[in-house]
């Protein structure tokens, strides 16, 4: 009995917590179907029916489909580059016990602390000189920035994998690429999931780097589209009847992906960070 009673309280606390957590998202949803006046005057009221005109206007304003595709392209290619390059370097850094490995680990770890603001201007002008102030350049920048944390995660994980499997494969005559693709990568799956999800979330939502590289070119990422839609429509104020639906539209893909893959994502974000 004494154990039953607190459980009710625990459930109550958690349910209240969950409702509070979901409130901004629900709030966003209901206000995406209301006019500016309705939003400002009765923010908590439900919309008068299923009114999709503001959402439709926002989709048009932020060029949803091309923005979505280019954001997806940047995210997928960027994450792939990060995964392949950082797992390869981390593997070698763990296995080859030389000074170079130590120095590299130090460099990567220390660079995790560099704030983006400390290098953004030199970075942009350097890439411009290389003719890479464009989407491919943006992907390369992400790959470079994502490297440090990913190497750090892979490095920590590979340390805990015994060498014996690789050694057996090498003795069997496998070449280095076969060892990497058939032995190492499958073992690294949990960390790869972590690296992919953490970097994917960052690339998808990032604002500052696309802002500096792409700016207001016709084809831009979702976050940028929302920003410019807001900047151009409420020149100085907030056109809430555009901001709400535009933000909603930009987060729907993430929520859909999360609903489909929630188990994998939630396991993924911690698997690499915490050794089980």
């Amino acid at each position: 009995m004494s154990r039953k009673f607190p459980k009710v309280i625990i459930y109550a606390v958690l349910i209240i917590g969950a409702l509070v957590t979901l409130f901004p998202i629900v709030f966003l949803l209901i206000n995406s179907m209301k006019s500016q006046t309705e939003i400002v005057k009765t923010p908590l009221a439900l919309p008068k029916g299923l009114n999709l005109q503001y959402i439709a206007a926002a989709i048009e304003k932020i060029d949803l489909v091309p923005s979505f595709l280019v954001t997806l392209l940047i995210t997928v290619v960027g994450v792939l580059l990060i995964v392949v390059i950082s797992s390869a370097v981390a593997w070698m850094m763990v296995r080859y016990k030389g000074k170079a490995s130590t120095v590299l680990l130090l460099c990567f770890t220390a660079s995790m602390l560099i704030p983006f603001q400390a290098l953004m201007y030199p970075l942009i002008s350097e890439f411009d000189k290389m003719g890479l102030k464009n989407v491919p350049g943006l992907i390369i920048m992400y790959a470079g920035f994502g490297l440090s944390m990913s190497v750090f995660l892979y490095h920590g994980f590979i340390k805990s994998i015994p060498k014996s499997l690789e050694e057996a494969a090498i003795v069997d005559g496998a070449n280095v690429f076969q060892v990497y693709t058939r032995v190492i990568m499958p073992l690294l799956k949990p960390t790869t999931a972590t690296v992919a999800i953490l970097n994917g979330m960052w690339l998808w939502n990032d604002f500052m780097l696309p802002f500096l590289v792409i700016g207001n070119k016709p084809l831009k990422t979702l976050t940028l589209s929302v920003y410019f839609a807001k900047a151009e429509n409420g020149q100085y104020g907030n056109a809430w009847d555009l901001v709400f639906p535009a933000v909603l539209v930009s987060i729907v893909p993430i929520i859909v992906i999360f609903l489909i893959l929630q188990k994998q994502i939630m396991k993924g974000v911690t698997a690499g960070a915490v050794k089980e």
Partner: protein, 494 residues
């Protein structure tokens, strides 16, 4: 195993897409000489400018690239990265003459040295108040529009308030009257809103407020419409008036002696009195909009909200500029046809004014008129600079160019004031231009973060306070004056 082969395919695919994209990016780049790159800071004309560029390209074969940066503080970052790029903008604009002009990076072409006779002609026609000159009399820019600001008023509201057949005479009197007349006028309007009728004399004519409220006048909840969250509405535009007592033009404020700002102290104190009056008579949705937290919050104090209040006739005067017409139209304001602009009256005395030729009457009978303008990047290639000059000449001489400026953008074309468009507020600006010298825009020359800091100080120390202590105005003026000098010194004293 499965991951790796998928990964390989994906990488190959990704690389292919990346290559395609970079090829596409290269082919569309305009680094070849026969091109023109325009960096547009007025995002609202972005779409029309794209179309114009396309038409110009079809007509002349010159490739024109347009970049519209949006608005807000981040524009600086975009412009800077564009200016350092391999293919920098050729037509652009800045208000920061010290950094970009001859004393700094030397990025601004002196247009007066042009070989293009038609461009020379265009330069000669720029009115003095809109001319942007360098320290050695260079001409730095060509205005693409002239904008003016003051108290925007719905003349039908004036008519109903005073039971007139026609508000023309009253408008004329308000344009000409003194500060004291204007103050008794606004007091009378305030009384009317509170339900009392009274008689005032404006510029020698008597006016009596109507005994009964009509549908229109009944909607008034305050004399002024204010946007408390937007610091630029009370910092930039209001402090520009005291700045006009010491600096005659924008260029004068850029290159003139920084110590002259000290003479603006008494004018700043008087400006604060005016701001106090206006913000304490502000209109709200269902009644007065008193200063305090909700006065400055980003919803009820926003620019958009204030536009709506004015469109709904909640206030008589709206301190804004001719640029608001398209925005009012967009929200379906019903008072579009009857708008006019009245000067922002200031209780200045002759001793407050240091600019030769300006008197208290100047301030009370005209409005500040300022240009939006284009510059040519001095460090662009010769061919590109020539393309830029040709384009500007074409813009002002061709039918298509004029159609763009006048009809599509709703601009005032500075060398052809007779051209008319639907923006009725432009007519008001033209009226003041026709009357002679207007006030200028020295506030655009404020160093670094000065305007933002002034705005923050006003917001944080005053706009959130229900009551202001007039004895603090002098202190406020001293602080901002010292800040101006300090920022100015840090810019020039390297």
């Amino acid at each position: 195993m499965s991951i790796s082969s998928k990964a390989k395919k994906a990488i190959a695919g990704g690389a292919a897409i990346a290559c395609l994209l970079s090829v596409a990016a290269c082919s569309s780049s305009s680094s070849d000489a026969n091109s023109l790159y325009i960096f547009n800071g007025k995002s609202e004309i972005g779409a029309a400018l794209e179309q114009l560029a396309q038409d110009y390209q079809d007509e002349t074969g010159v490739q024109v690239k347009v970049f519209s940066a949006g608005s807000g503080q981040n524009v600086t970052e975009i412009m800077n990265t564009e200016m350092t790029s391999q293919d920098p903008p050729v037509i652009w604009a800045t208000t920061d003459l010290l950094s970009w002009g001859p004393s700094g990076g030397d990025f601004i072409e002196d247009l007066s040295q042009t070989q293009n006779q038609e461009l020379k002609q265009l330069l000669d026609e720029i009115p003095d108040s809109a001319r942007i000159t360098g320290p050695d009399d260079e001409t730095f820019a060509i205005p693409i529009t002239l904008e003016g600001y003051g108290y925007i008023v719905n003349t039908n509201m004036l008519r109903d308030l005073f039971n007139l057949d026609d508000a023309a005479q009253l408008v004329e009197d308000l344009r000409k009257c003194s500060y004291d007349d204007f103050r008794s006028f606004t007091d009378a309007v305030d009384d009317f809103i509170k339900g009392q009728s009274s008689t005032v004399t404006v510029n020698g004519h008597e006016y009596t407020t109507a005994a009964q409220k009509t549908d229109l006048t009944g909607s008034l909840t305050g004399v002024f419409v204010e946007a408390g969250a937007e610091t630029w509405t009370y910092a930039n535009h209001m402090i520009n008036l005291p700045l006009n007592t010491v600096y005659s033009t924008f260029s004068d404020a850029v290159y003139g002696d920084a110590d002259r700002i000290e003479d603006a102290k008494s004018a700043i104190v008087k400006e604060m009195e005016v701001v106090e009056y206006n913000t304490s008579h502000a209109a709200g949705e269902d009644g007065p909009n008193p200063r305090g937290s909700s006065f400055v919050d980003s919803t009820t104090g926003s620019y958009d909200y204030s536009l709506q209040l004015f469109a709904d006739n909640k206030g008589l005067f709206y301190k804004q500029g001719s640029w608001i017409y398209p925005n009012l139209k967009k929200i379906g304001a019903s008072n579009l046809e009857t708008l006019d602009i009245i000067p922002i009256k200031m209780p200045f005395e002759q001793s407050d004014i240091k600019v030769e030729g300006r008197t208290p009457e100047t301030f009370n009978t005209t409005i500040p008129v300022m240009p939006s303008y284009w510059m040519i990047n001095k460090q662009a290639g010769e061919q590109q600079k020539k393309n830029a000059e040709d384009f500007i000449v074409w813009l002002y001489s061709s039918e298509r160019g004029k159609q763009f400026l006048n009809d599509e953008c709703g601009f005032i074309v500075y060398n052809d004031l007779d051209m008319r468009n639907e923006n009725i507020l432009n007519d008001a600006v033209r009226y003041y231009l026709d009357q002679g010298d207007t006030l200028s825009n020295p506030f655009d020359a404020a160093p670094g973060s000065w305007l933002v800091d002034v705005g923050d100080d006003m917001k944080q120390q005053y706009m959130v306070q229900a009551e202001w202590d007039p004895s603090t105005y002098a202190q406020f003026a001293d602080k901002e004056i010292a800040h101006w000098k300090e920022l100015k010194a840090s810019l020039t004293g390297e």
